[in-house]
Structure formats: structure tokens, C-alpha cells
Amino acid sequence: MDFWESDDLAEHREAARAWVEANVRPEWVDEQRRSGCHQTMELHALLARDGILAAGWPPQYGGGDVDPGFAAAVFDECARLGLHFDGWATTVMVLHTVQHVGTEAQKRQYIPAALRGELLIALGYSEPDSGSDVAAAKTTAVRDGAEWVVNGQKMFTSTAQVCSHVFVLARTAPDAPKHKGLSLFLVPTDAPGFEVQPIHTLGGQVTNATFYTGVRVPDTALIGEADQGWSVMRVALVYERGVSSPTSVERTVADDLAAWAREARRPDGTAVLDDPLVAERIGRIAVEEEVSRLLGRWMNWNAAKGGVPGPEGSMRKLFWSEAGQRHFSEALDILGAEGLLAPEAPGAPAGGMFEHDFRNAVVTTIYGGASEVLRDIIAERHLGLPRSRPSL
């Protein structure tokens, strides 16, 4: 047993920093915040150009020579600057799914193009009337010769405004039981009948509603077998719980709060960190963040061993998101009135990031498996308790 963390990142840190220095423009961070789109296509093109997207993929599907450790370090350095890659994160999930269940032709069609940066895929699971209950999807796909005709609406299709495709969950056997008549399609966003409408959020992100009106896709757009979409989707879900926060990013609330509290002063001139009421909360946050990190490592370790995924992904997502929400709320309390200042306010502590992250944290207990769904899964699959609701 050892808990040594991979040295991959450390080893590649310097080279990654050099790459970032040479290629990344700091204004992209502001642009992501301003536009609410957590995917910068200019940066994406550079990551593709230098083979960073392709690192670690098999050569027959376009994989390249770039060391995956270097690639991870580049993403990590970019994330430290505040850049998001939400569109790429969902693309990777779908590529893994294609790799697992796609035909050879599909693998050769989609994976290399994505690794070249020509293809970016948003997730089209949720609908206006189905959030956590994804399998209640009403969007339909009807076979018409060698094509499928897609009709319906998807919600929270994040980064669809810049994506080339949406991975659409559609009902293909309307009379089959709820979980047995679903299929998944890669729908191009330039197809006639596709529309996208922005949805503004509390965290500043702009997600989308996407509309599908008689959108025609070829049979090759069907990923996995027809009517088997539920099991296909669960392949991707395994990856989603891991992606929801990059475990490589080690910036923590406790660190940031301690850094602020060491400099900030009470009216009597003492450092805020010397107030036990402040230090106690930062200490508690630090402990819970360590637990979050360890649950993430455990998940990665199990995934790397390649066995059947256990409860670790659900547990980690549940703990991380619930604890994180508490931590940002406590951070604002500790900061007092100053904690309320938005990033636009001059002189906001840490540039208003606490306030921003507090707003953003509310969605973390919803996306990628709402906390209630995760608790149900842990209770049923890990603890062997009976099902407590109609269907999963």
C-alpha cells in the first residue's frame, strides 16, 4: 500500500508551463466568464495542433506520441489559470463510449476527427420534463430507410453553441418499457432542423436548450445498438462522475481562505487567521477537502485497475459536491460583507472568486447525477437495500 501521488504531473510541469506561456492568452479567462461558454475554440485548436488532445489514444484511431502526463499537466496548468474545457470533457466521454460500443467504421470516423479538434460533442440527455430521470426522455428518432429522423427538445446542452455534434438520447421504440426503447445518436449541429437557444445560469455559465425538428441523420450516427441506449449511456456515466471536477486541479478552498485570512486584518490589527472561529472552519474544510481528494484517487485507482466500477464514483461525486457547497457557503460567512462582492466589484477578495464559486456550486449537486440519485445508487447497489423509488 502506498499513497504516493503520480509524479507524472510534476515531471511535466515545467514543459507544460512553457507551453502555456507560449500559447495561452490570459484574456481567454475573462472571455469565458463574459460569454458564459466554458470552451475556448482558439485554445482547442492549439491543443489539437500540438497533439495534446490525441495523447494516450491508440494510434489506429489518431492517437499520437505526446506523453499523456504532459497533456494532463497542460490541462492542469490551464485550469489553474481559470480556463474550462467543458466541451472537450463531454467529447472525451462520448469518444470512450464510441470506443466501447461503436463499430470499427464509427471509431475511425469520429475519434481521429475529434482528436484533430474538428469535432466537439455536447451531451443531449436531459429534457424539459426529465432531469435526474433521464430515461423518461421524450425526444424520438424514427427510422426512415437508411436514415433516422429526430424530433424533440433537449435541456442543459452545455457548450452546444460551439459544438459540432450533440450526443442525443432518443426514444426509438415508443411502446417498449421506459429503459428499453432508447438509442443514442451523434447529431451534427449543422443539420437542418437543429436549433440552439441560450439559457443563462446563476453561475454565469450559458448553457442551452437545443431543438430537433425533423433532423435527419444517417444510420452511422447511431452509437451502439438500437434500443440499447440506456446501457450505452451508462458507459458514459462512469466517465462523467469522474469528469465533474478535474482531480488534477489541487487548488482548494482551504488554501485560498487561509491565504486571504493570513493577510486580512481585524480592526484591532490582528490577522483574521488568528481568530479561532475562522481557523476552526478552515481546518474543517481542509479535512473534508482531503477526504474528497482521497475519494477521487480511490476512484481513479479502481478505474486504472480496470475492474467493474464499484460505488467509488458515486461516493466521490456525492461527497465532493455536497462538501464543496458547504465550503463555499462558509467561505462567504468567514469573509463577511466582503464575501458578497462580485468579480465586477473593485477590491473584491480573491477577485470575487469566492462569490462566483458560491453561485456556481449550487449546480454541482445536480449535474452528473443529483445527490439523491447517487444516494439511491449507493444504497441499492453498494449497501444492498431495496429500491425505494419506482425505477432507476
Partner: protein
């Protein structure tokens, strides 16, 4: 003991509720963001005489008490009305309580002058993050042992430099060195008058949070009754029900504590100040927990700006936090409660 409102108070509740329902629907609240001030609505609130409702009749006010002010604050909170009624009422009460003709009390009572109070004592030349500071004509500030009235620079409507914030509050820094400064009181009297004003602010903000919590609970209940997941209304899930039941229970406790604090003020009890702080503390916990849960039960929609619950969620966190970290206030309570060092 009589926990019922009087007939007059019931009538006021009905009137205030109707007024805010009509004049401050969510569209008005949204339109007033990010400043958090609607000048037209403020004029109507002044015309109703709400800011001076607790000022004695012989000073031109409504002659009622803080129970009546708390009623107004509760329904202000319920509708998130973008008007600095609480700050104006607190400052007006303070100005009319300070002896001497030099005070601008009459203007404040008449609604011709919008006054507010800086909650924290000031050491230098800047009162930081003054509630309603972005829209007030006059700020009352405690500096050292002097209670000061600072006019200008600039008039209402953000001229003083509103600071964008989570709760869409018209907070701003106000300078003491470029405004017109009058000394209202000195020494122990000044300190005591300021402390009383802070307690009044706590009392009324507690009542506003009661309104926020009550409405946030309703929004949550309406949503879970309406939406279905896994083939049943979300309202049918036991974990959802139990959190709503806990929040509902806390709201009833918040209501009792808010009105006990207001009653204790009007009855002149020595415990009134401590009860005001306790009310704010409990109302803060309740409003944030209730609004968070209701937002969470909205699923992905809770995260969108389209649904109203986010308006409540942000203010439930922000409004009380202007007064500072709750834990500091909790830590002072035992001495105030059991040693009677300060009410």
C-alpha cells in the same frame, strides 16, 4: 400571552402584503438588478408612510411600533422589494431619537430625505459597504465616540458608487471627508444610539428573512408538486418531504422569534436587543437553508436565472451577511444573555 396579531395589525398585514404583491412582482425585482433600487416603488413606499410608521405621531410619524415595522419588513422580504425600507426606518428612528434641532429628522420623517446607517463603527474616512449607501442622501456613522450625519456627495440612484454584490443590494462605500458632516451625539450617548440602531436593523432584517424563507418554501413546494420524476411527483419523495417539513418548522420558529423581538422592543424590555440579534441569527440560518433546499429541488432549473427561486437564494445569503460573520455574533451571546453586560 397573546400570540395573535391585533385587528389593526392583521389589517396592516393584509394591506402591506397586497401592496408588495402588486407593486413588487418578480419582474420589478429583476428590473431593479443589479442596483437593487426602484425609485418609483420607493416613492410609493414613502407615500404609504411605512419608513416613519414607528415614529411618534407628534414627530410626524405613524405612531405605531416595531411590530408594525416588522410586518412591513416581512412582506418586503417576501416580495424582495428593491427599496431600502429597513435602513430608512432604522435611520429615521435614530435621527428622531437624538435630541437637538440640528438633526435632519423632520426631512427623513417626511420622506424627503433618504437616510441610512453604517452598521460598523468607522475608524478612517470611509464607511465601508454601507447598506443602502448607494442610494441614500444621508448616512449616520459612528466614528470613535461621535455619531455623525454625513450628507452627500451625490444624491440617490447609485451616484455614490454601488458595489456589485450577490444580493443585489445598493451597498456602497461612503466617504466622510468629502461630505457635509454634522455631529449628532457624543460619548456614551452616541455609542448607545448607534448600538440601538444596529439592533433595530437586526430586528427588521430578521423579519425580512422570515418573508424570504416563507416565500422560498412556497416556491419549493409549488415546484415539487408540479414536477414529476421517475413517474411520480417530486413531492412524493420522502427525503424531499422531510427537508420541507424541517424548513417549515424552522420558519414557524423564526416567525415567533421575529415577532417576540419586535414585541420586546415595543414593550421596552431589557432583553429586546439580545432578542433582535437572536432573531437575525436564526432567521439567517432558516432563510438560507430553506432557499438552498428549494433551489436544489428545482433540479437544473434552479440553476437557471429564469426561475424565481435563485432571487431568494442569493438574498437569503447576502442580506444578513452585510452585518458580518454570524459566528462572531453567536460567540458574544452568552455574555449578553447570562452576564447582562450588554443587551
Amino acid at each position: 400571552m397573546n400570540l395573535d396579531f391585533t385587528d389593526d395589525q392583521e389589517a396592516l398585514r393584509g394591506a402591506v402584503r397586497e401592496f408588495f404583491d402588486k407593486e413588487s412582482p418578480p419582474e420589478v425585482v429583476r428590473a431593479a438588478e443589479p442596483l437593487g433600487f426602484d425609485a418609483a416603488l420607493w416613492r410609493k413606499v414613502v407615500e404609504l408612510g411605512l419608513p416613519a410608521i414607528a415614529v411618534p405621531e407628534d414627530r410626524g410619524g405613524g405612531g405605531a411600533g416595531f411590530v408594525e415595522l416588522a410586518i412591513a419588513a416581512e412582506f418586503l422580504g417576501r416580495s424582495l422589494a428593491p427599496v431600502p425600507l429597513i435602513e430608512a426606518a432604522v435611520a429615521t428612528t435614530l435621527l428622531t431619537s437624538v435630541p437637538g434641532e440640528a438633526t435632519p429628522a423632520a426631512d427623513a420623517v417626511a420622506g424627503e430625505l433618504l437616510a441610512t446607517v453604517a452598521l460598523h463603527p468607522v475608524t478612517g474616512d470611509v464607511a465601508r459597504l454601507v447598506p443602502a449607501g448607494a442610494v441614500a442622501d444621508l448616512v449616520v456613522v459612528l466614528r470613535g465616540e461621535e455619531l455623525l450625519a454625513v450628507r452627500g456627495p451625490g444624491g440617490p440612484a447609485g451616484a455614490a458608487g454601488a458595489v456589485p454584490n450577490l444580493g443585489a443590494m445598493p451597498v456602497a462605500d461612503r466617504r466622510l471627508d468629502t461630505g457635509e458632516v454634522t455631529v449628532l451625539a457624543k460619548g456614551a450617548q452616541a455609542v448607545a444610539a448607534h448600538r440601538r440602531a444596529v439592533r433595530h436593523w437586526e430586528l427588521l432584517t430578521g423579519a425580512a428573512l422570515l418573508g424570504i424563507a416563507s416565500r422560498a418554501l412556497e416556491l419549493g413546494i409549488d415546484y415539487v408538486l408540479d414536477r414529476r420524476a421517475f413517474g411520480v411527483p417530486i413531492a412524493g419523495f420522502q427525503t424531499v418531504q422531510h427537508r420541507l417539513a424541517d424548513n417549515s418548522t424552522a420558519i414557524e420558529g423564526t416567525r415567533l422569534l421575529a415577532y417576540k423581538a419586535a414585541w420586546a422592543h415595543d414593550a421596552g424590555l431589557p432583553s429586546a436587543g439580545t432578542l433582535a440579534t437572536m432573531s437575525l441569527l436564526f432567521a439567517s440560518e432558516t432563510a438560507f437553508k430553506t432557499a438552498s433546499d428549494s433551489l436544489h429541488f428545482h433540479g437544473g432549473y434552479g440553476y437557471t436565472l429564469e426561475y424565481d427561486v435563485q432571487l431568494y437564494f442569493r438574498r437569503a445569503k447576502a442580506w444578513p451577511l452585510v452585518a458580518g460573520d454570524r459566528r462572531v455574533a453567536y460567540a458574544r451571546l452568552p455574555h449578553r444573555l447570562f452576564d447582562a453586560t450588554e443587551a
